[in-house]
Symmetry: C2
Subunit: 223 residues, 2 copies
């Protein structure tokens, strides 16, 4: 029998719940709805920089987009630099989604080696899972910053396979974002779409190998 495959988790939104950042947008006088525009724009610009061959760290792009969004808000923002730092500071306090701790524990008990693979910094993932009390169940916290391209570049996924010392086909990516599922599949990994909201899967992306509604369901799905 093959050993349980290694699992690489996306981090932002897949493990972490970004919704507490809504209050931080409101704290600085911006609508909570701006959070979704901001996060999509960060990925837009991070991807654009990867395409142009000039990738930048996630936090740099995230700050640049916030600064830009404040100028488009129209109203007077007393201290835009402080507003940006107030939102960014929220990353250090984010919780994980309710299904993460039981899911991670069950997958670890089933023998799956666990890692993270984020477009953000390794330290954000390490801190997030440490606060949740499951950091010691992960072998390592990988960032695309070690590779010089953002996901969904094939090189980002292959980097994870190399570090985990497995073939791409023996690595399973777990993500809430269809573009991440698509990139992993194109790089030869297996991919799990974690669909907490019963959304429809966009037809422009390759379909996942497995879809689960909550992380604990993945134990049986991979058996």
């Amino acid at each position: 029998m093959a050993p349980p495959p290694t699992i690489a988790f996306d981090v932002n939104e897949t493990l972490s719940d970004l919704s507490p950042l809504d209050a931080r947008f409101e704290d600085v006088g911006a609508p909570a709805s701006l959070r979704a525009t901001w996060f999509a724009s960060v990925l837009r610009d991070g991807n654009a920089l990867t395409i142009a061959g000039t990738p930048r760290p996630f936090a740099d792009v995230a700050r640049a987009v916030l600064d830009d969004l404040w100028t488009r808000q129209g109203g007077a923002m007393a201290d835009p630099r402080a507003a940006t730092e107030h939102v960014m500071a929220g990353f250090a306090e984010l919780p994980v989604h309710p299904d993460v701790v039981p899911g991670v524990r069950a997958l670890a008990e089933a023998g799956h080696p666990l890692v993270t693979l984020s477009n953000g910094a390794s330290e954000v993932a390490r801190s997030l899972l440490g606060r949740a009390g499951v950091g010691d169940l992960f072998r390592t916290f990988l960032s695309v910053e070690d590779v010089g391209v953002w996901k969904p570049s094939k090189r980002a996924y292959n980097h994870a396979a190399t570090v985990c010392e497995v073939n791409p086909r023996e690595l399973v990516l777990v993500a809430v974002h269809p573009w991440d599922v698509h990139g992993a599949r194109r790089a030869g990994l297996r991919a799990v779409w974690l669909d907490r909201g019963a959304a429809s899967y966009p037809p422009v992306f390759d379909r996942p190998d497995i879809t689960v509604r909550a992380l604990p369901d993945l134990v049986d799905a991979l058996r």
Copy 2:
């Protein structure tokens, strides 16, 4: 003296004013603020598909993101497919920004060959500028769909230079989006940032060669 350089215009938001789409979001029961999230997400996903080596037409990505956003709205959307088509139909009626017609006329009179270079379909640009009464001032309407990558891929800009029969350095891209300015510069073009809102330029992107607040100002800036 060198002849006036060829100018390649980005189309969505640079020439067209997308704000009338806000009312179409409200028509289908969504907040007008969703337009910004949608447009950023379209570029996020289009870029992701380019990175993964599997580009898709702009309209396909735009529809897929709308379908996805409706499922996240929570409320009951009676007919999501019809809602998507109602928003997409708005592209056929968009106006140009007020500075576009005088700017395009002045640049044509100064002897600049003019083209468009869009991540969207050629027909959208042709129709937009035709409705504005300046379509005949353009030599051609280029789309990245002819190349198989989205901007800001170097290949998209080089394609425009090839079609225009000029060296990249003799081609001037005009865009409101800093990521487009960045990509054009990295491909060896000159790049103009059209900054209608007096925004700050994000530090993660290469700076433009020229910044103007309105298109008619570009005639003198290029002289």
